[in-house]
């Protein structure tokens, strides 16, 4: 059970981190430019 949860967290992190980076970059640019 713990192994499955670890695998679940790891897989979601692998795909979630690049997405979070892309979203953060977009928001950062939007805020910077609208200021």
């Amino acid at each position: 059970m713990i192994l499955v949860r670890l695998k679940l967290a790891l897989l979601w992190l692998i795909v979630g981190l690049p997405l979070a980076w892309g979203v953060a970059k977009t928001v950062q640019n939007a805020i910077k430019l609208f200021q």
Partner: protein, 465 residues
């Protein structure tokens, strides 16, 4: 689910040996289904790069001149064809290879998509190195486009099978990745070009090689972790409703039958009209906000507006598709079309009132519904035609995207040019366009209203060829 079994090769012992074979991807009954969406996201986040291809447009016109275009450099118009060819081949490959994708299973399909998409970048890199634009078209356009088409449909049909209780949320999760891919690819492309540039090169060749390798690995990771549910699998505690809704079938329709039905072509119209309206605006978003609010919105602020629209586009994919599980697919599209007509009709007044915030908000909602339309359509297909060939049917329906990809931008830019040519001030040149978009959405609204359940005579029966 059981009806889908003959498409696989579970009965063929030699086929079990193949690492990519469908039979090797069948999960045990107690498999946690939330382990599967990351596989779909890995593929869609990669192929979503296509939306950010324009980041390379200008650098590709300065390959020889490096800081500015040399006479022998490619023109922007010539480079612009690359994206159009890729979208065309996305639609064509999804339509042609849809049945193969269902038969071969998601792992093989995702691996092929990885090879095509990553390989497309590498062939294009060779074209950049040799300065042969035909290789760019062949690489990113044809090969990459096939990777886009195969990679787009495969994870979607897999997730629909894992989430029969929440098909909208499942397809929303996968297709959200396609929207999110652009948010990653745009800053990644800029970072790579900055990293590789030298006084003699603007770093595009190296960036293409790097992106080809990165995306191949990421997509192959998705292929490695993807699983399909066993034939008789159901989510724990879930049983199909004994009183099925009018527009949600428990039967299946064969792809060769489905595409000849009235329902298929009405759904084609629904997708085409929804996408045409959204893609037309997306393609002209930057000049539109600058011209409608002349002197108040700079080019840089317009670029951030485009970024914000991408966020709405991505968010809408998950939110609207998930909401469609509760609202019903037909009602969700009814909202898209009705709210879309209202918002498009209001845009000229918002422009005249000079409210930038309201303008951004209106287009944010419009783009969320554009994304939502993409993400909800596979679940709509599943409701109407069942899960058996949903990937193949979805593939054929994506030709509507290819058509809209040409129709939308051409309509918006042609009408704008026509207006300006006839003396209409730039700030008002978009008003007619908005009303024409309303007209397109009215057609979509009627297509949606005309959708009924498929006649039981057309349902697939076990053992039928």
């Amino acid at each position: 689910m059981s009806a889908a079994a003959p498409l696989g090769s579970a009965g063929n012992p030699s086929a079990r040996l193949g690492l990519l074979n469908r039979a090797r991807t069948v999960a045990p009954h107690d498999y946690n289904r939330f382990l599967v969406p990351p596989a779909a996201l890995a593929v869609h986040l990669s192929i979503g790069q296509a939306y950010a291809f324009s980041t390379f447009n200008l650098p590709l016109t300065k390959l020889l001149g490096v800081t500015q275009s040399a006479p022998a450099d490619w023109s922007l118009k010539a480079v612009g064809w690359t994206f159009s060819i890729a979208i065309l081949f996305l639609g064509l490959s999804a339509a042609v290879f849809g049945r193969w994708v269902e038969r071969a299973g998601p792992r093989k399909a995702m691996a092929v998509a990885a090879g095509c998409f990553g390989g497309g970048f590498l062939v294009s890199a060779l074209g950049i190195h040799l300065h042969e634009i035909e290789l760019l078209y062949l690489g990113y356009g044809v090969l990459g486009g096939c990777g886009l088409g195969i990679g787009y449909i495969s994870p979607v049909s897999t997730l629909i099978k894992w989430f029969p209780d929440r098909p909208g949320m499942a397809t929303g999760m996968a297709i959200m990745g396609f929207g999110g891919g652009a948010l990653i690819a745009a800053p990644l492309s800029i970072f790579l070009m900055d990293h590789f540039k030298t006084p003699e090169s603007n770093g595009v060749f190296e960036s293409f090689v790097a992106m080809g390798l990165i995306y191949s690995v990421f997509m192959l990771f998705g292929a490695a972790i993807v699983r399909v549910p066993p034939g008789d699998w159901r989510p724990i505690g879930w049983t199909p409703s004994l009183t099925p809704k009018k527009l949600v079938t428990t039967a299946n329709v064969h792809v060769d039958v489905a595409w000849k039905t009235r329902q298929f072509w009405l759904l084609w119209g629904v997708l085409c009209m929804n996408v045409t309206a959204g893609i037309g605006v997306l393609s002209q978003a930057s000049p539109m906000i600058q011209e409608m609010f002349a002197g108040r919105v700079s080019a840089a602020a317009a670029a951030s507006f485009v970024g914000l629209l991408s966020l709405f586009n991505m968010g809408g994919r998950f939110v609207w598709a998930s909401a469609s599980d509760y609202l019903g697919r037909k009602n969700t599209y009814f909202v898209f079309f009705l709210l879309g007509i209202l918002l498009y009709a209001l845009v000229p007044s918002i422009g005249r009132a000079g409210s930038t915030a309201l303008f951004v908000l209106a287009f944010g909602v419009i783009l969320s519904m554009y994304g939502g339309g993409f993400a909800t359509i596979p679940a709509y297909l599943r409701d109407i035609f069942g899960t058996m060939h949903v990937g193949a049917i979805h593939g054929r329906l994506l030709t509507a995207w290819a058509a809209a990809g040409v129709l939308g931008p051409v309509l918006v830019s042609y009408i704008r040019d026509f207006q300006i040519h006839n003396g209409v001030p730039k700030a008002q040149a978009y008003s007619v366009t908005m009303y024409i978009m309303c007209g397109l959405l009215v057609i979509g609204l009627f297509c949606n209203l005309g959708i009924r359940a498929v006649s039981p005579e057309l349902h697939h029966r076990e053992g039928e060829a």
